[in-house]
């Protein structure tokens, strides 16, 4: 555990940037392959989950439900509830106006009467009108964007001596990178984009920015210590390596803690928690990776571009 690392992160910046670009590309492309499953919390609509015993003919069930709603189109998926061992069927409807509660009650009454011998009952319902769904989505987006702006300003002020604004922008680029990978995890695992997704993105946002800041802090310190004797690439490399044990140990503890949550949730069959802890783990790995391998190399690469553009003015 107490090894001294000496890996040339800066020298391999091209490799790292390509790996990151590929991961981001896969995450984005997966949207087109698997399709984003925006939860009704964001797009509006209705999902009703019933549990029942025995067998139910799914096609007939959809027909009955549609009839009770006066011909509205419904789709359904069946599954098993791990915690109770009963079967469940999930009805979803996308309507432009949201389902009024009257209609929903009529539906539930009809279904409960028709499938009385299956002891069917409603265990979860969620109905959101498209306008409030859109508003919630927009509000989440604005909150995340505002966080980005505030973080850039904070980093720019606190890390002035290591090129504040650029450092801030690169930290945000890393955050976007992590958020996109979390998004990809949701898509590839077929989980719907809902409030849990927002919670994970926000957590990873915090986790990743903290990782980045710890490394920036080391660079800030070394910049003062070695300004005269070392090049900027050397200082960055030294800083990443010095804080690497910390990065690894922090990641191990947090990721294993999340693993414990995932395993316990799987044993208990609490899917709502798995859909939150699993992407969180992936996000934590991405967050650690991006702050160690992506942020600083990106900054140096951008700085290089800028210098080239300005005809190699100042070089430290």
């Amino acid at each position: 555990m107490n090894k001294k690392f000496n890996f040339d992160f800066v020298g391999h910046k091209k490799t790292f940037l390509i790996i990151s670009a590929v991961m981001v590309a896969i995450s984005i492309l997966s949207t087109f392959v698997f399709g984003a499953n925006l939860d009704i919390q964001f797009k509006g609509g209705t999902i009703l989950t019933y549990v029942y015993d025995g067998e139910i003919d799914q096609a007939q069930f959809e027909k009955d439900a549609s009839e009770a709603l006066g011909g509205l189109g419904v789709t359904s998926t069946v599954g098993e509830d791990f915690s109770t061992g009963r079967n469940n069927i999930q009805l979803s409807l996308i309507s432009n106006s949201g389902l009024t509660s009257d209609k929903q009650f009529a539906l539930s009454d009809a279904i409960e009467a028709k499938y009385a011998e299956n002891a069917i009952e409603l265990i979860e319902s969620s109905d959101v009108s498209p306008s409030s769904g859109k508003e919630f989505f927009l509000k989440c987006t604005v909150a995340v964007l505002l966080s980005f702006v505030v973080l850039v300003i904070y980093i720019a002020i606190r890390f002035k001596n290591i090129g504040g604004w650029l450092a801030g922008v690169c930290a945000i680029a890393a955050l976007l990178h992590d958020c996109i990978i979390v998004y990809g995890t949701f898509i590839i695992c077929g989980m719907s984009i809902n409030a849990n997704f927002m919670a994970v993105v926000l957590t990873i946002l915090g986790y990743s920015i903290n990782n980045t800041i710890v490394i920036y802090d080391r660079i800030r310190e070394n910049e003062i210590l070695y300004r005269k004797t070392k090049t900027r690439d050397e200082i960055v490399n030294l800083s990443i390596n010095q804080s690497l044990t910390r990065s690894i140990n922090t990641s191990i503890t947090t990721i294993v803690a999340m693993l414990a949550v995932t395993i316990v949730a799987a044993v208990y069959g609490v899917t709502s928690i798995i859909s939150f802890s699993l992407p969180m783990m992936v996000g934590m790995i991405a967050g650690t990776y991006s702050s160690v391998c992506f942020t600083c190399p990106l900054r140096l690469a951008l700085e290089g571009l800028r210098k080239d553009g300005k005809g190699k003015k100042k070089s430290k």
Binding site: K3, D127, C140, A199, I213, R218, V256, A260, V270
Partner: protein, 470 residues
């Protein structure tokens, strides 16, 4: 920090233990069967409906109606009144005036397996039936009976408007009352009834559905359709009664804009799993920290324990001066992130101490400069976290919370969101991070500095030192 004396560790350690014990179990006394809670324990934590199960519903007037603020106030008053009638006391409700929405959340009723949320929501949205009835005769259940049941003087549509007003009495003191403007028809009916009742100093009781909320004595015959109800009102109670009366005159029925229910059976499994997972994760972190960082690791575990207890204390409302907060699944995510930050703070410090030792510094010097050098990274990391938490609390809090007001200039175009679950994330993160600065930095430092004064604990190996880099 050289000042830290030997006993400091034990004082801090015992304080943290004592604090944690009271947080987990609360402080209460039993007098016979009467339990008096002095300090709230974890049992008092209120869980969000995503954990405990419950109902989250947004009511709105029908699409073609643009409700006034007074009408919304009145409609909310009806909903609140009805929830109380249903025995639901642990509700949250607030109004979004921009979008004409009333947001209501309530958990599953304790110990009631047959609670039908659909029926409850349906009832909440119905138009209230307001009646003014003769006399105040009730049966043992508080329902009207006898002449009160038979003789309805006014119904909701007879009332044009009710509002709180005040007058000055002879001595110049202010007196609050509720003023009523009746419709022509209502005025006629009211004139007849008051003309008959005032001679006997009879009463008129005012009912919403089956609940009576006022039964004033008739003071005089009122013929002009303008009545006032006086009593021991203050500004607030007068407005409340006016709202209630207005609600009976609402020209619309509320419909649901969004409506979700979560069965409690889904919730309890989730909670149990989270508690077990939390304990396993904590044990793992403790073993890892002690194995890797030895003495600083052990100190870190104590500090983390304090941090977790402190976060739970803020959620449960342990500190009397602050209200607790509702804990949701995203709220638990916030605790996890804050604990992660706490672990990280201790790891950063322990690593630094180890580095200082490897550079050949003395033990005391290493501990001191380890904490000092680690601090800027910990501070910056935690401050960014606090900024994010504040933004979230501003975006997703109820409209009257301070952070919402603070960030109103950004989120003014959005109404209060129904996603209260995310507010909880901001709350647990904010408290967790602030506590981390206290426990993970301040307490850790005190404890470690004091422990290092013991001769037996002065071996650098206990601090990860003495291992040469190859």
């Amino acid at each position: 920090m050289r000042k830290a004396k030997k006993p400091v560790f034990f004082v801090v350690f015992l304080l943290i233990l004592a604090f944690a014990a009271t947080v987990f179990f609360g402080v209460s006394t039993y007098y016979g069967d009467m339990k008096t809670v002095y300090v709230k324990g974890v049992d008092n934590i209120r869980f969000g409906i995503d954990i405990k199960g419950g109902v989250d519903v947004t009511f709105t007037p029908p699409e073609d109606i643009d409700a006034t603020n007074a009408q919304l106030d009145a409609a909310k008053e009806v909903i609140v009144q009805r929830m109380i009638n249903l025995g639901i006391t642990d509700y949250e409700s607030y109004i979004d005036y921009n979008n004409d929405r009333i947001i209501v959340r309530f958990p599953w009723k304790e110990g009631e397996a047959n609670f039908d949320p659909e029926a409850a929501v349906k009832e909440l949205g119905e138009t209230a039936e307001l009646t003014f009835r003769e006399g105040y005769e009730v049966d043992e259940l508080g329902k009207y009976t006898g002449v009160t049941a038979e003789n309805v003087i006014l119904v909701g549509s007879d009332v044009q408007e009710a509002y709180a007003a005040y007058t000055k009495d002879d001595s110049g003191a202010m007196e609050w009352l509720v003023s009523l403007n009746l419709t022509d028809e209502g005025a006629k009916k009211f004139a007849e009834a008051t003309g008959r009742l005032y001679q006997t100093r009879g009463v008129i009781s005012i009912w919403m559905d089956d609940t009576c909320f006022s039964y004033p004595t008739v003071q005089s015959a009122i013929t002009d359709g303008r009545a006032t109800i006086s009593g021991n009102f203050d500004a607030e109670s007068a407005k409340q009664l006016a709202d209630k009366i207005n609600s009976g005159a609402l020209p619309f029925k509320l419909v649901t804009a969004s409506f979700s229910t979560i069965s409690p059976s889904l919730g309890t499994g989730a909670l149990e799993a989270m508690v077990i997972a939390g304990i396993i994760a904590f044990i793992f972190i403790a073993v890892f920290m002690i194995a890797v960082y030895r003495l600083p690791g052990a100190v870190a575990v104590v500090a983390l324990f304090g941090q977790v207890a402190g976060t739970l204390a803020f959620i449960s409302g342990y500190f009397g001066f602050m209200n607790g907060s509702i804990l949701t699944i995203p709220g638990i995510a916030g605790i996890i992130l804050a604990v992660g930050m706490g672990v990280d703070a201790n790891i950063i410090t322990s690593e630094r101490i180890r580095e200082e030792l490897a550079n050949g510094k003395t033990l005391d010097g290493s501990i001191e400069s380890g904490f000092k050098r680690a601090f800027s990274a910990i501070l910056d990391g935690n401050v960014t976290m606090i900024l994010v938490a504040i933004i979230l609390m501003g975006a997703f809090g109820t409209p009257d919370s301070i952070f919402s007001k603070l960030l109103h200039f950004v989120f003014f175009m959005f109404g209060p969101s129904t996603a209260g679950t995310i507010y909880s994330f901001g709350f647990t993160l904010l408290t967790g991070v602030v506590l981390n600065l206290f426990f993970g930095v301040f307490c850790s430092r005190l404890m470690l500095a004091s422990l290092s004064k013991f001769k037996a604990l002065r071996n650098p190996k206990l601090y990860g030192g003495g291992v040469r880099h190859e």
